[in-house]
């Protein structure tokens, strides 16, 4: 990222710090955004390595490589890393980079808070790594509970559970602070004339994401703190023997956990809202309905959490309420799908890498949507629950829905960030490689789930062998493809065809497009004098 510093012209009033001070003490939204993105990239490889351990162990029946304890610890941390370490920081990095430039603000509203919210992440990640190694240095049993951390099993683990609780505290504080910052920036820092209903969809998406995070994170932080108290201070919030209730934790967890799904999805829907009009060369179809759809989705998403717990034996009417609420989520999702499809309709389509990812998201996330409706139906879910059908469903939701959206965003904005065009041929190769290997990995898991394979098992009966082999082969290919991703990014940072201020022909289709009015890469400080939006 030296290129950014190199193009920094000296018209501002203070010196930009150089060397390590530039990064450690940074209050610049672009530098902090870059750090967020690199942190996410690092965690992508860490979490991905854990997925490779899981798939290697499941390649064939029997115990080949790891102990059951380590296996359980791997699927626990794979999820936590991918959610808190990868998707959320990557989306926050894009928000940092793009939102001030999109709304014509000079920086985030609270730049020092911005620095703090980033630097809490490496601290949290360190705590998480300590939690993984603790069992080897006398810390008792590893966390075997899965990322949901359900008691009583999370009460059985040793010190690594405490470290994981602190990890969640740190990462939770980080994302609450980042969300406060982003929401404040969106509400207060818009350029004159940039009304709310003129904001690019990505900004709207992050507005709802930020609000959701501020509302839900405290519930999770409270839940894990109660776990900590149960473990060490003699309380029994979740211990039935002491008058507590193990299911209470599940409600607290999913009150956070279900909206969290939309926290992961919405930024990517925002990216889609930028990418699809660009490569269709026409305005977004149904801007208003997309914005209100996201509002509806965020609101409805807050009140349907217990569909993750149909099997705990809630009252009949509570269960029916959660079922119908969940099925209704298909309305805003369906609306968004149609908006994107009809943005392409009668457009002038080209298929650069970001657009390919966008199309893949529309199709594969639709598939996650229909299996989501299947899972929402209580009696059927009582069969699907906790099987690989669920694993397949949420990977279809989160990899196309969230991760591919981030890839689309990376390829879409990489020219803006680095000043260089990425290698389109390699980008397309990466797209086909990931899309095909992703489907090879997760499509068969629908069937192994229906055939009766529960999730989170380290060993399985021979009847599930074939599907697991196919899944593992796909997963190794999927993992390997990310080395290409890394190579493309490094290559683009180091050089390549210079990118113009507006690298995409249709980039301003239907949005004010302020981010395209500054050079690529943008100067260190942008919009010191607010631009006027007509």
């Amino acid at each position: 990222m030296t290129s950014i510093a190199a193009t920094h012209d000296d018209h501002d009033h203070h010196h930009a710090p150089t060397g390590w001070r530039r990064w450690v003490f940074s209050t610049n939204h672009k530098d902090i955004g870059t750090m967020y993105l690199f942190f996410a990239l690092f965690m992508l490889f860490l979490g991905g390595a854990m997925a490779m351990v899981i798939r290697a162990e499941l390649f064939s029946p029997g115990l080949q490589f790891v102990s059951p304890e380590f296996y359980n610890n791997m699927f626990t941390n794979h999820a936590l890393i991918m959610i808190f370490g990868m998707v959320m920081p990557a989306a926050a990095g894009m928000a940092n980079w793009m939102i001030p430039m999109m709304i014509g603000a000079p920086d985030m509203a609270l730049p020092r808070l911005n620095n703090l919210s980033f630097w809490l992440l490496p601290a949290g990640a360190l705590m998480l790594v300590l939690s993984i190694v603790a069992p080897w240095v006398g810390g008792g049993m590893a966390v075997t509970a899965g990322w949901t951390l359900y008691p009583p099993i999370s009460l059985q683990a040793g010190m690594s559970m405490d470290l994981l609780i602190f990890t969640i505290h740190l990462l939770g504080i980080s994302s609450i602070l980042a969300s406060i910052n982003i929401v404040t920036t969106i509400l207060n820092m818009r350029a004159p004339g940039m009304t709310m209903m003129k904001m690019p969809v990505f900004v709207w998406a992050w507005f709802f994401t930020g609000v959701l995070l501020i509302l839900i994170m405290p519930a999770f932080a409270g839940g894990v703190t109660m776990l900590l108290f149960d473990r060490h201070f003699g309380t029994s919030f979740f211990d039935a023997a002491g008058g507590g209730d193990p299911v209470l934790f599940q409600h607290l967890f999913w009150f956070f956990g279900h909206p969290e799904v939309y926290v992961l999805l919405l930024p990517s829907i925002g990216v889609l809202g930028m990418v699809v009009p660009t490569f269709s060369r026409k305005p977004l179809f149904g801007y208003k309905s997309l914005v209100y759809g996201m509002a509806f989705l965020a609101t409805l998403g807050m009140v349907v959490w217990a569909h993750h717990q149909y099997t705990v034996g809630m009252s009949i009417w509570a269960t029916k309420y959660f079922m119908i609420g969940t099925i209704l989520i298909s309305i805003p999702i369906g609306l968004m799908k149609f908006n994107f499809i009809f943005t392409m309709w009668r457009g002038s389509l080209t298929f650069e890498t970001p657009m390919l990812f966008a199309i893949a998201i529309i199709l594969m996330f639709a598939f996650a949507g229909v299996t989501g409706v299947m899972l929402a139906v209580v009696p059927a879910d009582l069969q699907y629950h906790d099987t690989y059908f669920v694993v397949a469903h949420f990977h279809y939701a989160l990899i196309p829905g969230a991760v591919f959206g981030l890839y689309a965003g990376v390829f879409y904005w990489l020219p803006k960030w680095t000043g260089h065009m990425y290698d389109e041929k390699l980008g397309k190769l990466f797209f086909w490689w990931t899309t095909i290997s992703f489907n090879v990995t997760f499509f068969p898991q629908h069937f192994s789930g229906l055939a009766g394979m529960p999730r989170r098992i380290v060993d399985y009966g021979v009847q599930f062998t074939e599907f697991n082999m196919v899944s593992s082969v796909g997963a190794f290919a999927f993992g390997l493809s990310h080395l290409l991703f890394l190579y493309i990014i490094i290559k683009t940072i180091r050089g390549g065809e210079p990118a113009p201020a507006k690298p995409w022909e249709g980039a301003q289709a239907g949005t004010p497009g302020l981010e395209w009015t500054v050079s690529s890469p943008p100067p260190f400080h942008t919009f010191e004098t607010p631009p006027e939006v007509k």
């Binding site: 006398g138 049993m141 359900y150 059985q156 149904g286 009847q463």
Partner: protein, 384 residues
């Protein structure tokens, strides 16, 4: 539900994104391939309830398939028809037309229609799930790390069901068979009461009943009327720790007469065993060791291993351990009451005095521990 003829579907033209088609094609195509061991769908239901659930599942599956087919055709056509390379010019006013103005209303109405159709059907099936009714046989199923305890409430008879080792079960049936299967009568309304002794578990045999979680402090109910004799298998479906993969379920559905004969024999056996344990007989070390070895392998070896070496740090070794060699009082206490904060369960409620005495004697004399102790049922009784 009959399967719509997939082959007669219109196929998109060659130029469209054909890769997008393989999802529904595989969904519809794979089940017909019929690989011997590879199951692709929920197993064939054998009770009225699971049949209703299965039909609901097939209905939502086909709704899902058809929605995907329509979406893929629509997207495929759009991509093919409006690509720039054929000179397609973007219609900048399209989003302002009639459909652009009203799509916010039309699309939700369409989706709501599909939603309500599904919800209505799901609603009535769910009423059936919760219609527990008066059962003739009630089985209380208790999950614990990592085995199932079945209690026939009407007969006051309970037993523990454990994984069969790979040596006993063979490569093929490993993780699918148990030492003591649950025996149930066919054509009889059976009610299951689910609970757990330590952490969450879930008892799931998809052919005969839907799953509900086993939760400490809770009792959840499910029911079934099994219509076909046979063996039905399942396994624990809620993560319960390192042994989660190792607690399969095996149900043998037999005729009512066969069931009555079986349960009668079991109850008589149990009464004889209780009488023996209470008889104040002094047991020799060899008798206790012989009895203890089998019990140890059933109840303890999953964690502490058959050779007593354990899996440190989670599961300590018993061979050569200070407690097994020197601390009898501590040994009795930990087996009876368990150890808080670890996976060590309290066995006091699950095993009788004689069984406990045999296991502890075995642990104190096997694998070179050689203390010579012969712990008597009376010792256990005193320590309780």
């Amino acid at each position: 539900m009959s399967e719509p003829g997939f082959a007669s579907l219109p196929r998109p033209k060659r130029q469209s994104r054909r890769w997008a088609l393989w999802i529904p094609a595989l969904l519809a195509g794979l089940p017909t391939l019929g690989w011997a061991e590879m199951k692709l769908n929920l197993p064939e239901p054998v009770s009225p309830l699971t049949r209703e659930v299965f039909d609901l599942h097939m209905m939502t599956t086909w709704v899902a398939v058809w929605i995907m087919v329509i979406v893929i055709l629509l997207v495929g056509y759009t991509l093919w028809k409006f690509r720039k390379s054929t000179g397609s010019v973007a219609d900048q006013e399209f989003h302002k037309g009639f459909f652009g103005t009203w799509s916010w209303l039309l699309v939700p109405i369409l989706v709501l229609g599909i939603d309500l159709t599904i919800a209505d059907r799901a609603n009535s099936t769910f009423d059936q799930v919760e219609n527990i009714g008066d059962a003739e046989v009630t089985v209380k199923v208790t999950g614990s790390q990592w085995k199932w305890t079945y209690e026939y409430m009407e007969h006051d008879y309970s037993f523990i069901s454990n994984l069969k080792s790979k040596e006993e079960a063979g490569e093929y049936d490993y993780l699918r068979t148990v030492d003591n299967p649950l025996v149930l009568p066919v054509n009889t309304r059976v009610r299951f009461l689910h609970t757990a002794a330590d952490v969450l578990h879930a008892w799931w045999v998809p052919e005969i009943a839907v799953k509900k979680d086993s939760i400490p402090g809770y009792i959840n109910e499910t029911w079934t009327i099994i219509e076909k004799e046979g063996v039905y298998r399942g396994q624990c479906a809620e993560n319960c720790g390192v042994g989660h993969a190792y607690m399969p379920i095996e149900v043998q559905a037999v005729s009512r007469a066969e069931f009555d004969r079986w349960i009668g024999e079991r109850v008589a056996e149990k009464q004889a065993a209780v009488a023996l344990a209470a008889s104040n007989k002094v047991w020799s070390k060899d008798e206790l060791m012989a009895e203890g070895e089998g019990l140890y392998n059933t109840f303890c070896a999953a964690c502490h291993q058959v050779n007593g070496a354990g899996l440190p740090p989670a599961f300590p070794a018993l061979a050569g351990s200070d407690m097994a060699l020197n601390d009898l009082a501590g040994h009795l206490d930990i087996v009876i009451n368990g150890k808080q904060g670890t996976a060590m369960a309290a066995w006091g409620a699950q095993l009788d005095d004689l069984q406990m005495a045999a296991i502890i004697t075995y642990e104190r004399n096997a694998w070179g521990n050689d203390t010579g102790d012969a712990v008597q049922p009376a010792d256990v009784k005193a320590a309780r």
